[in-house]
Amino acid sequence: MTDHDRPTLHRDDELTTRLRALVAPPTDPAYWAGLETRILARVRQGRDGAAWWVLPERIYRIGLLAAGLTLIVAGSVYLRHRALETRMAYETILDSADDAPVFARRGLFDGERPDPLRAGPATTPEDRR
C-alpha cells in the first residue's frame, strides 16, 4: 500500500475548517458594493481604453479577407511577371542566335598561334624521338 492509498487522505475536517477561515470571502456588504463599483469602473475603463484601437469584429473580418485577397492577387501578379520575364529572356536568346557577335566568329583567331606545349620538355618516347 502506498502513502497515497491510505484512508487518512480523506478530507480532514479540522484542516478544512482552518482552510475555510483562511480563504473566507469578506462578509461586509459594503465590501461587495465597493467591489462591484471597482469592477464596473475597470470594465468601463477597459472598454473605453480599448475602443480607440480595437476594431469591431465585422470590420476586422472584412479587413482580414481583403488582406488575404490582396496577397493572392499580388502573388499571382508576381508569378505571372516572373514567367513573362523568363519567356522574354528565352525569346531574346533564340531571336538573336543568327546575328552572333563578331568576336565569336572562328575567323578572328585564324592566324598562327604559338603552341605552349612545344616549348615544354618531352614527356613521351615519341616526343623524345
Binding site: T16, L19, V23, P25, P26, E36
Partner: protein
C-alpha cells in the same frame, strides 16, 4: 388643486433591471446589447462566487480581487460570443480560474525569490495570528496553484471533481489526483503541528 396621476408617466421606459431578481437570460441578452446596468446586475449576482474561485487559486485577498476584476473585464469583452442558453456561472468561473492562474504565473515569475513572505493574510481574519493558521497559509502557498485550487474548491467550497475539472480545464481524473496529492502534501507539512495538539 387636485393632482392627477398620469399612468403613462409612472411606468419606466427602461426594460430590464429592477429591484426584484430578473431572469438571468434576459440580463445576459441585455448586457450583450450593451446595457451596462444589466451587466452590473450580473456582476452583483456572481462576484461573490467569482471571488471564491479566484481566492482558491491565488495566495491572498488582493490578488483574488485583481483576478475577479480581470475576469469580469474578459467576460464583458467576450460576452457577444456567449450563448445565453449556457450556464453563465460555469462560463464565468472558467474565466475567473484562467485569470487567477494567469495572475499566479505572473506573480511566480516576478516574486520567485520571496514567495513565502507573500503568503498574505486572509481578508481581515483575526485567526491568522494562530500558529496553525499561519503554517496552513504557508503550506497552501507551497502547493502548485492547481492543487491549491482543487483542494480549496473541493473541500471548502464543495464543488465536484467534474465541476472543478471544467473550471480549471483539466480532466476529472486529474482533479481527483490533484486533490489526493494536495491533501497528502498538507498532511505532511502540518503533521508536527497537529501531533502537538
Amino acid at each position: 388643486m387636485n393632482t392627477v396621476a398620469l399612468p403613462w408617466t409612472v411606468a419606466s421606459t427602461r426594460p430590464v433591471v429592477s429591484d426584484r431578481p430578473a431572469d438571468e437570460r434576459a440580463l445576459i441578452l441585455a448586457a450583450q446589447r450593451g446595457d451596462e446596468p444589466a451587466f452590473g446586475e450580473l456582476v452583483r449576482r456572481h462576484q461573490r462566487r467569482a471571488y471564491v474561485v479566484a481566492r482558491a487559486i491565488v495566495l491572498n485577498h488582493e490578488d483574488a480581487e485583481d483576478a475577479v476584476q480581470d475576469a469580469f473585464l474578459h467576460a464583458f469583452r467576450a460576452l457577444d460570443r456567449f450563448l445565453p442558453d449556457q450556464a453563465f456561472g460555469a462560463w464565468l468561473h472558467r474565466i475567473v480560474a484562467n485569470a487567477a492562474l494567469d495572475l499566479t504565473r505572473r506573480r511566480k515569475v516576478r516574486d520567485a525569490d520571496d514567495l513565502p513572505e507573500t503568503v498574505a493574510s486572509p481578508f481581515r481574519d483575526p485567526a491568522v495570528t494562530d500558529e496553525l493558521q499561519r503554517r496552513l497559509a504557508a503550506a497552501l502557498a507551497s502547493l502548485p496553484a492547481r492543487q491549491r485550487a482543487v483542494i480549496t474548491l473541493h473541500d471548502v467550497e464543495g464543488y465536484k471533481h467534474a465541476e472543478i475539472g471544467g473550471m480549471l480545464g483539466i480532466p476529472e481524473g486529474t482533479a481527483r489526483s490533484d486533490l489526493h496529492y494536495a491533501r497528502a502534501q498538507l498532511r505532511d507539512l502540518l503533521h508536527d503541528l497537529r501531533s502537538d495538539r
